[in-house]
């Protein structure tokens, strides 16, 4: 399976950092964004920018810093935006709807896909977003977490929010899966029948409840999600046991010689 592409519409979603104090956080935020396919960073009145520290923490995401837009006000960062989400973890006496990332994200993705500009707005490390900044946004988003210790730092919040966004793009990790060869129910049943015959042949069933036993094993093997190669290995093993017992040749017609025997 080929490596999937990051969807193009993610370029319509920007991250806005309002008045960030620490250059390191700008770098870490850039890195977090890029891991989740976002590239457009807006910085409102950054205390220090550009900086070596930001570049260092951005690691392979220095390109995000190099193309970042520095603006003097939040309004400037949001001028062409239709939906601006204020990330906040405080109770606010505002009538702007409050939701969690998982609820908000599908709408953001849909709007970005239509070509609308969407912003995720994060406040200063110490003070968060001011009331004036929040009022310029039309959504409040709160990341759920431990009510007694909610201490997500800035870059962590960017990471969680962008992860949530990315998880709704439909880009999956299937390209990392090895080429599986799942066995069918029929193949599993054939293998269990072979096991049943083997247990009989080698005398394991004597004075035991063979029916109950094989039923349990059948359930176990059906649950295990077997691959075809594993079935081959198991059947090779059974065949060998049958041979040692002087049985089995021709007794299970669906068994073929294979390399494991």
């Amino acid at each position: 399976m080929n490596k999937p592409q990051v969807p193009d519409f993610l370029k319509n979603i920007r991250v806005v950092l309002a008045r960030p104090n620490h250059p390191g956080n700008i770098g870490s935020a850039a890195r977090a964004m890029k891991t989740m396919g976002l590239t457009r960073l807006y910085l409102v009145e950054p205390k220090v920018f550009p900086s070596e520290e930001a570049d260092t923490l951005a690691s392979g995401a220095v390109d995000v810093l190099q193309t970042a837009t520095v603006v003097p006000t939040l309004a400037a960062a949001l001028a062409d935006v239709t939906v601006a989400c204020a990330l906040t973890s405080r109770r606010r006496e505002l009538t702007t709807p409050l939701s969690i990332p998982r609820e908000t994200t599908p709408e953001l993705i849909a709007r970005a896909r239509e070509g609308e500009q969407v912003a995720l707005v994060f406040g200063n490390e110490t003070f968060g977003l001011s009331i004036e900044e929040v009022e310029q946004c039309n959504r409040l988003v709160t990341i759920p977490g431990n009510p007694d210790y909610f201490s997500l730092n800035l870059a962590m919040a960017v990471q969680v929010m962008t992860y949530e966004l990315f998880s709704h793009t439909g880009v999956n990790v299937d390209y990392l899966k090895p080429d599986g060869n799942s066995a069918t129910q029929g193949e599993v049943d054939g293998m269990v029948d072979h096991l049943d015959a083997t247990l009989e042949d080698i005398g394991y069933y004597r004075r035991r409840n063979s029916e109950r036993m094989i039923r349990r094993l059948r359930t176990m093997f059906h649950r295990a999600g077997l691959l075809r190669e594993e079935i081959d290995i198991l059947r090779g093993f059974y065949k060998q046991a049958q041979r040692l017992a002087g049985k089995g040749q021709g007794s299970t017609p669906d068994v073929e010689d294979d390399s494991t025997s």
Copy 2:
């Protein structure tokens, strides 16, 4: 609404860091865990521990470091565990099932709720998990992200995975919502009827298609998710406009005097 409690069963889910190199990452991971209600940290052969750097980066989560368990092998960290998830971002030629956090998490929560011990296993910062380490786990979990730049650092991966876990606990952020007073459809309709009368009274409808206009406004107000207080403000405004036009007294029987008039 009261602040919710972190569910007790989260204590059955541990984070295992295998051979972490950088003390700072141990501290950041502890902080990430605690923000999502996890407290049990296992460290397999940490290069440096305890350390001042870890304590500094743990911020308010030093208690997680103080109660951390240091073990010499991954096996020791997993001895009493039923489900161990190996966090990995590489393609592995293994038949262990690979899934994303959102797929895996409901099962982990269900098992922890039943009292089983669950582990999230993270590898070394540079090398990830070794093949021997992955083989001791019965799940592979990959965080989805940019296929061309997948550079989540250790603490970020812990943050994303524990966020995903927490999001399935049912602990929500409703306690942060202001006490809303959503208007009913009937209240919205009453307000729009009042607006309709007002527009008539002040002569705004002359030579305009009043029916089409009020229909559009009605749709807009129904969409806006109005609160009761907002309806009071609007009706106060309409009443004042009606008075200026020498109209309105008694003409809209459902309007009552209120503080805004």
